[in-house]
């Protein structure tokens, strides 16, 4: 494998032959993806989907190596990533590579969890890998397909129910600035169900990890997935998450996205294709950004079939110099009659220098639908703060109480008490001690 230093984007764009692993079963797929990436090009501020996030500037900041062998990681190093009081299975990945010795993988009939690189002969892999329609025009998804190292493959056979949540910890450890590309594929067959929590842990110091991950999630008829994604990386992290779900008839996909301090950049491309009728889709997002964080959420719900319900609520709390971007696209196709599609984005700006750019994009081509969207931006109510203080509650505690109250709509929907407690505590920790002025 060629080790490349920047300007790697130029290298990828202009040269870069021999980047994709030749011995790989996916060689031709990867080569095609590289061609696609080159033709799409690296997005700039003129690209509609990237006009509020200057990704080229961020990529030019450091020379990145494209592949990096991970240093050994000990159980003690990973321990802080686990959630207190949560009874769950555990899968630990280091730079995208599954570490069975650090994991407690489920031994449940009908449940498969392996390295993606070991799944190429699996039927579900063959029929689903890189098949999500929304990935085709995303440059960073193409780049990932071309160059991903490894990731997780999860399959639930029909009627398989995972009895406890699976917590996937993505550990990143780099000794020099690195561009990492994990790739995951989850397939839940008919009537299967699971709760999957993802979180990240950065062990690197003095080196930047740029993570460009892609997760494809397929829910077949009547399958149900509760998917929690906790994004709380160190400042030396930049993250682009592409999460693409596809739902068949009667399936339920519940997505919870929590972006917390301190990664410098977090970009989420979350998209859901509703390929069957009578589906339920919840997209819940909470972003709490501090310092110079830039948090960009792009969501896309593609209503292709009739009688589907999608419900989206994203709430943001922005402090210090943090920037937020929310773009919520809903496309209701002509055939998708009786669609219910709701979207709401509410923001709390707690500093004069913080800002939010929110944009709904509704394209509705069916005539018998219920769709709505809304956007609010506000500050702390001085009156609420005074009310709490007038009851003896200190200023800091009062502010934390109010932020938690604002986030409550989201945290209240977390259906795992230990996780809910963990998140509420995280919010408290990040908000207390930060000076808040209106």
């Amino acid at each position: 494998m060629t080790d490349i230093t920047i300007p790697f984007y130029q290298y990828i764009l202009e040269g870069g032959n021999g980047l994709t692993p030749k011995d790989d079963a996916l060689y031709s797929l990867r080569e095609d993806a590289l061609v696609r990436f080159r033709s799409l090009g690296l997005p700039d501020l003129k690209s509609e989907a990237w006009r509020n996030t200057n990704i080229q500037r961020i990529l030019k900041e450091q020379p990145f190596t494209l592949r990096q062998q991970a240093a050994p990681v000990s159980a003690a190093q990973v321990a802080p990533a686990f959630i207190q009081g949560l009874s769950c299975y555990k899968a630990v990945l280091v730079n995208g590579h599954l570490q069975p010795e650090l994991s407690q993988l489920p031994d449940v009939k009908g449940f498969t969890i392996t390295k993606l690189s070991e799944a190429s002969k699996n039927e579900a892999f063959k029929s689903h890998f890189d098949k999500h329609p929304h990935l085709a025009d995303q440059p960073f998804a193409a780049l990932n397909t071309a160059l991903f190292a490894d990731g997780l493959f999860i399959e639930l056979k029909a009627n398989t129910v995972l009895d406890k949540p699976l917590h996937i910890v993505h550990v990143y450890t780099v000794s020099q600035h690195a561009f990492l590309q994990p790739r995951h594929l989850w397939v839940a067959h008919t009537s299967a169900s699971a709760t999957i929590i993802e979180s990240a842990l950065g062990l690197h110091e003095n080196a930047v990890a740029f993570v460009n991950s892609v997760s494809e999630i397929f829910l077949e008829d009547n399958a149900e997935i509760w998917h929690y994604n906790l994004q709380d990386m160190s400042p030396d992290s930049r993250h682009i998450y592409q999460t693409a779900a596809s739902q068949q008839t009667y399936s339920r996909y519940h997505h919870y996205n929590f972006t917390l301090p301190h990664a410098t950049l977090v970009r989420n491309n979350l998209s859901v294709a509703l390929n069957g009728s009578y589906t339920e889709t919840d997209l819940h997002g909470l972003y709490l950004a501090t310092g110079n964080q830039h948090v960009d959420n792009h969501t896309f719900v593609d209503h292709l079939q009739p009688h589907c319900n999608s419900n989206e609520l994203y709430k943001g709390v922005l402090l210090d110099n943090a920037n937020g971007v929310f773009t919520g696209r809903i496309h209701v196709h002509q055939d998708a009659q009786k669609t219910n599609a709701f979207q709401q984005n509410n923001n709390l700006l707690l500093s004069e220098k913080a800002d939010i750019n929110s944009q709904p994009q509704l394209e509705i081509y069916a005539d018998d639908v219920k769709c709505s969207h809304g956007f609010t931006v506000g500050q702390f109510s001085e009156e609420s703060l005074f009310y709490l203080r007038a009851r003896g509650i200190g200023e800091e505690a009062a502010k934390t109480l109010l932020v938690n109250a604002f986030a409550f709509d989201i945290t209240d929907k977390v259906h795992i008490p230990a996780l809910q407690h963990h998140l509420t505590e995280q919010i408290r920790r990040y908000v207390s001690g930060v000076s808040i002025n209106n």
Partner: protein, 253 residues
Amino acid sequence: MLTIKNLHAEVEGKEILKGIDLEIPRGEVHAIMGPNGSGKSSLASVLAGRENYTVTQGEVIFDGKDLLEMSPEDRAREGVFLAFQYPVEIPGVSNLHFLKTALNEIRAYKGLPALEAKEFLKLTKEKQQLVDFNANLMNRSLNEGFSGGEKKRNEIFQLAMLDPKLGILDETDSGLDIDALRIVANGVNKLRSADKSFLVITHYQRLLDYIVPDFVHVLYDGRIVKTGPKELALELEEKGYDWLKETVVHENV
């Protein structure tokens, strides 16, 4: 208990309180009446520490301490309680959690340990009964969707829970029907004691039929222009405030 001397305060550069002198001894109930815009609610706000008011002159001594030096939370912890004219709705904060936080912050300030869950619930139940507060409202978000009467009752319930030395009721009666008014007033009357004082601010004499004050003060244009026994309230109700205006003008001449 509370001594106010020559208190001047302004908001946005406009003088609202123009030299207030008031003494409320321990265990007494004092009523402040006055027309709209006379500075009644401003006085309550200044005592509770609302930040958009600037005190330009004078002092307020509460239980031997300089009240004006303290943050709003420290005033509450020292024992000043303001029942708001317009209680705030805070979605996402449960009434119960809010009260527990407030109570324990006040206890911590006094060097007392946090109340155990069991003790807290016992206290809650006892005070709910005392002020006739609907227990179903406890787990709801603070004041969210409460009726006007429920909000005011919640203020009195909080007062009962936090057990201050001085309760300031800022037009607690405004907008209440007679039943709600009776319930609120009964709550206050049950809380009256030899070591608790009240400052009852009201626009209407009606409240003082139920909460009978020891003294009535009339506030006009930022000053207390008349002080008298509880009968003064009746006089005001009969004559309105206009005659005061003339008196004040006359005195100034």
